[in-house]
Subunit: 214 residues, 2 copies
């Protein structure tokens, strides 16, 4: 693994896990020591994270961990509600049987986890959810769409902290994934578009409710 990748992973994980709090400074030297590399690859990693919106640069003051306000969350959900349905429609028009099978498997695992609710099910569901959405992106076969969305998917990993699922919401989310698989299998772009749109808006509502209750 390249040193730049190690530095990138170190900082990214630190941000997503909350080790690096929003607003805290990331000096190159400190990150370099933490990751066990020199400053050069650290600079590359920080620039990459900046491009992804996870850190900001204050001029001549280095990098700070990006803070996500309510406004940012609204913006992110608005863009996802716009782009992911298009992704789903393209996926419905293009997906191969193999890929559909994989999607189905993911959504069925998610349904199981959602009904069993065994220890650590939230983390596992989160991972399954990510995999599902990324697979849809791959099926959409649009590099620029995928790149745009990846910057919007990263952030929710932070936002997720806020999500407090009401009874039934986990189940609904999993059910929507399954319905999306059916729409894609039927190569029905409009159906896929609609259900994905509803899915994102439902997620938005869950997030906002969770946030208000703090």
């Amino acid at each position: 693994m390249r040193a730049a990748d190690r530095a990138y992973a170190t900082v990214r994980d630190g941000i997503l896990c909350g080790t690096y709090a929003a607003g805290s400074r990331l000096t190159e030297t400190e990150v370099a020591q933490t990751a066990g590399v020199s400053r050069t690859p650290v600079r590359e990693a920080l620039r990459r994270l900046h491009a992804e919106g996870l850190v900001n640069f204050e001029p001549n003051h280095g990098a700070v961990v990006a803070a996500f306000e309510l406004e940012d969350a609204e913006e992110i959900f608005e863009l996802r509600a716009l782009l992911e349905p298009v992704c789903a429609r393209r996926a419905a028009e293009r997906a191969s049987p193999d890929l559909i099978a994989e999607l189905r498997s993911l959504s069925q695992q998610q349904i199981e986890e959602s009904s069993r609710r065994a220890a650590g099910h939230l983390a596992r569901i989160g991972a399954l959810n990510d995999q599902f959405h990324r697979l849809i992106q791959r099926a959409a076969d649009s590099p620029r769409l995928a790149k745009t969305l990846s910057g919007l998917i990263e952030a929710p990993l932070i936002l997720r902290t806020f999500a407090q699922y009401a009874p039934g919401e986990l189940q609904r989310s999993a059910d929507q994934h399954l319905e999306l698989v059916q729409a894609i299998e039927a190569h029905d772009g409009a159906w896929a578009h609609s259900i994905m749109h509803a899915h994102i808006l439902a997620g938005r509502a869950t997030y906002l409710r969770g946030r208000r209750s703090r």
Copy 2:
């Protein structure tokens, strides 16, 4: 100006002007010598250009200038047709009188240039067009939307080479800009959305026709 910025500008201009042809390699040493800086800022510049989609990295083989195929153009127009209308709608809901005045000024200059057709009018119109679209983005006040679109606006600067305007198309484009200003001034989001959508699709048609005629 920082060395990294100089390196960035050097390569970017080279790509947009066609000095660096699509597919050609960009070795760090060569770029460093051309820009008159060391390799370190060149690396940063190339990474930035990669994030913007203007260059690609072949593993352990350095950077190559990105090539834009018909497929890429289709993808870019599809995304612009999706995002720029939303931008216009947001602008209509938010724009200040000052900003509207600026937009009006730009579109009127464009109308003049389009009817006079003096020497070099195509270049000037291109610049005015860019300014106009970027100003709409600023009015939309959505950093992530702007960032996403900037990566899609860069590419058309290359694609523009293909554009061959039929008589009246320049005039129509300028007229659409003016109508957009009116929609924004009326704070009519739906109107702004519609006219921008038509505007992008018209641009797409012009591009595709120009491309086919080669």
